[in-house]
Symmetry: C2
Subunit: 598 residues, 2 copies
């Protein structure tokens, strides 16, 4: 910070220094300080006040012998009153020095006190981390913001964004503000809509991301774009997602391959981790795991690599058993997968019940397991048989004291069930080391998947370039087609998705045709983009790390609301501003709208 | 720029260099370039192609003797196709050197050509500044963005914003992103509303400015805030205002007086003028003119000080005449004002008709004038009499060849009529020197004015601190009360408004009471802010220069739409994205809305 201690504040009627600035070097100086009454003590006929501002705390002393008027006024001060105090800097006696404070060697003997504004009794104690409920803190956010925890967050968030901007500027990227009054996007999450007054019955939409605009900037020849971009999604609340709005580090580059994107993004993530967290990066360069392998081995496309719990396909081992449940799955072209949990033999019955709940949430009927004590313990051992069980133990490399959990289903579904159990087991065993930052690239996402109705659908972004281009789209089984699509995950959180885009209209139409869209449908939905691509689009690709989630993970915040100055509550409400709120009839009339009564 | 010539692009299958990078130093090197076909010439059996990217243009040559396949492919290339060309850098013969191009001493003899994408014939010529209508340019904005004029704008806008951020960071300000899903503000312009799905019948509003949030950040102890803030106003279109959205350089400071705000803002404006325009600042420090004087002398609170046309009160001089029109105004406590226009004797009849139109637009019935030729020429001289006319000429300091225009009305209205005539006369006489940047502070705005119904109303921001505080609010005539409110203008454009805020609830209630608001009404409308001020608000103030308008004026752009990457048209429509647009019935249903048919 160029402003440590607030050394370039304005010197005026309110202050000559900040509350974090004075030291013994200023002894005997006449000074003025302004700030909030942090605390007050009466002692030996003197009044001591800790005065607080953004930069620190300075002790004020009021001696009735020195100035009776100031003393009497100080006597009436309460917590959070705002005052200006003028007086003399006095060196504290050695035994009164407070080494915890930067200003702890001095105090200010006040000769003049002015009350700038008063405060009611705050609804919660500002100075301390109390258990005050979040609703109250959000309602009085301006009071909570005075707490060092949020003062620090605001500062760090600013420095973090500054670092990101500096990085991209140095690399020749141009920051562009794309429209916030944008258009409704036909794919993805739910849009926030903005009714137009001048075009009755029509709506803008707030951008879910500047995806189309940034691609159009590439068509426009900008070559390297970035933006700290506000994004808007009308989704239902979730703990790692802020209601309604979030910011992403949005970037797009022309004439690039996947590797070029990685080369720009990975060094930035390394810098941000090292500069803004106490975490040590587990592996550099970041490991790269193809999507299919990530699902097979970790049951997740955002695997937490801080712990070594692995999933193994044990279909072959169990194929010799008499266990009907497994055999039926195998006959149905499914697979039996096993998650090996070292130390899992210590799980209590309750622990296992919890893990079973996680498996069920992800669609399993139950959670079969095998515990390796002096002998093998398992509810299904009588079905598997001892030999098959031992073969499994051998295959997954388990030892005495370990546990093995099973899922049997179509491979991806079975793996994802165990992926959920993996995370839950690691939490129970406290395997995740908070001092580690385990970054991982997930590559080679499939272009297509079978949807719930068994039809071919895009599995992620329909605008990604298929690996192999037009030729690849001739594949007999579209689910085998890979896209130039990639994710970046950190400690089990998805930080970003990205792709090399499909910039050629003929490949685009073909890719959509595979998912069952006619040319007319594609034109109706994405005509703007495709028209643009007909006028000379460069190959391009991009990425968009979620700024807030990245900050949340790096700073070990329990809740993404801690990352915003003025967050919405989990229901999307601003409790301080009482928003959203009803509007006047005239406003609705201007917008040609009426509210539907149920 | 750290990236002149694009020296840190990725080296990959598409390029080893940019199109702005190669010089004779690279002679004989094997290179790859990618970009757009800017133009093609066939000459002496060779094909010459100018290849364009963000950084420049490089000439490619195709010789059938060298590579027939590449030559044949080049023969099919058309404007705006995107290609990769691999070949050898060749020094041009001396007489072929193009000194206008950074790469003009070399060309690339192409041995391999790859077409990355093709282009239909663009709907307008990209390379040249043509007279293409704006609608077509906006519809194909991605093509217009390829023009050097907009490439430069994107770059300069980014550098400009970077400069602003750096400045505030150096001064210890923290940038904070305030909510975009905000609350409807009861004052000011029309809000854009965002219906809430989770709170049926309730709405967010997009912020007209982060006014309340930045004041709450001060209550929260942040001390120095800034933001490049997106703002939203559902106003009717105007040439110097972008439809719907604009950005402001939003700032707020605690424990400050007006002078402290000026000390932060003025040096920034000096830097921005010097770094981003060719204009020379007319006067430093910026002149400061109290609001009343600005209206009296220039008929405007954003006077263009690049030319010396002044308004004079000639009530005393005309009071002896027999001119009924003037006398009635004087009897009605109005004033007669005169605008002196040196050189105005040359105005044609048509010029004067135009000036009269401007006067009428601002509420005058006509525009009396006096032209000083060998004798005084005026339609009203027979009413004024020669003596009065000569007294006026003397009072305003006019000479032969000048003109004097009159307005008679309540002082402010009369002055504003002449203010409009002043601007129009200066335009006709081409008095405004584009090489000058005439900055001016307007200070001491009145807190109150009489509204159209003759009642006391706030003249500007109700949240400004009255000069003199609570005591000043006892004045017999509230229109004499001044606020700590100030504007900054440049060459006749309002760049910013700001104020020292009213941070004390008792003064706030009293200030509103003067304008006829009960405590209950104030609480209902501004309860959130006032509640916050009851918990210890520091004195604070701020400013908010309009980023886009500032750029428009400094860069001499005729139209604010030139300052945005993706502007709306004058009716608020995004012609490229076809936004706003109708939405589905399901979307309306989710939002509990229906559209009112007329």
């Amino acid at each position: 910070m160029s402003d440590a201690g607030g050394t370039n504040i304005a010197i005026n009627q309110y202050r000559t220094h900040t509350c974090g600035q004075l030291t013994v070097d200023s002894a005997s100086a006449e000074v003025r300080l302004s700030g909030w009454v942090h605390s007050r003590r009466d002692h030996g006929g003197l009044i001591f006040i800790d005065l607080r501002d953004k930069w620190g705390i300075t002790q004020l002393t009021f001696d009735p012998a020195n100035n009776r008027q100031a003393f009497d006024l100080a006597d009436k001060l309460r917590s959070e009153h705002v005052v200006t105090a003028a007086g003399t800097v006095v060196t504290r006696p050695a035994k009164m020095i407070n080494k915890k404070l930067a200003t702890g060697e001095i105090e200010v003997a006040v000769s003049k006190l002015t009350v700038l504004s008063t405060s009611k009794t705050p609804p919660f104690e500002i100075a301390q981390d109390t258990d005050t409920n979040e609703e109250l803190r959000l309602t009085y956010r301006y009071l909570d913001l005075r707490h060092p925890r949020l003062q620090r967050m605001l500062k760090v968030r600013d420095q973090f964004i500054r670092h990101v901007r500096h990085y991209f500027n140095q690399q020749g990227f141009t920051e562009v503000q794309t429209p916030i009054l944008a258009n409704s996007s036909p794919e993805g999450a739910r849009d926030f809509l903005v009714p137009s007054r001048l075009s009755p019955g029509s709506f803008y939409a707030l951008p879910q991301a500047p995806q189309q605009y940034k691609q159009l900037l590439m068509v426009g020849g900008l070559d390297r774009y970035f933006q700290i971009a506000p994004c808007f999604r009308d989704e239902d609340p979730r703990a790692d997602r802020h209601a309604g709005t979030f910011y992403q580090i949005d970037l797009e580059m022309s004439f690039v391959e996947q590797e070029d994107i990685f080369k720009v993004v990975e060094p930035l993530m390394v810098e941000l981790t090292n500069e803004f967290s106490d975490k040590k990066i587990s592996e550099q360069p970041f490991p790269r795991i193809p999507w299919r392998e990530a699902i097979m081995k970790y049951g997740s496309d955002k695997p937490d690599l801080r712990y070594d719990l692995f999933i193994t396909d044990v279909s072959q081992e169990v194929s010799g058993s008499n266990f009907k449940v497994f055999n039926e799955v195998l006959e149905d072209k499914g697979q039996v997968m096993a998650l090996h949990v070292p130390g899992g033999a210590d799980f209590s019955r309750k622990d296992i019940e919890k893990l079973t709940e996680h498996a069920k949430i992800h669609g399993a009927n139950g959670l079969a397991y095998l515990i390796i004590k002096d002998e093998l313990v398992s509810p299904i051992i009588k079905h598997l048989g001892e030999d098959v069980a031992q073969a499994i133990v051998k295959e997954v490399g388990a030892n005495k004291g370990d546990a093995i959990f099973f899922a049997a289903d179509a491979w991806e579904k079975a793996a994802k069930v165990l992926g959920a159990v993996r995370v839950a087991a690691a939490t129970t065993l406290k395997l995740a080391d908070d001092t580690k930052a385990a970054w991982v690239w997930i590559t080679d996402f499939p272009m297509y998947e079978l949807n719930d109705e068994g039809k071919i659908d895009f599995s992620h972004n329909p605008f990604s370039m298929p690996q192999g281009g037009l030729a690849a789209l001739q594949a007999d089984d579209p689910t085998t087609i890979l896209g130039w699509q990639y994710d970046l995950a950190l400690n089990g959180f998805e930080i970003s998705s990205g792709a090399i885009r499909n910039h050629q209209p003929d490949i685009m139409y073909r890719a959509f045709a595979l998912a069952g869209y006619s040319k007319a449908q594609v034109d109706a939905k994405f005509g703007g983009m495709i028209t643009a691509f007909e006028y000379g689009a460069p190959p391009h690709g991009g990425f968009a790390p979620g700024l807030d989630r990245l900050l949340m993970v790096l700073l070990d915040q329990p809740n993404i609301r801690e990352i915003y100055a003025f967050p919405k509550d989990s229901q999307g409400k601003d409790l301080m501003m009482n928003s959203p709120a009803p509007v006047s009839e005239q406003q609705l009339k201007d917008l040609h709208l009426s509210i539907k009564k149920k």
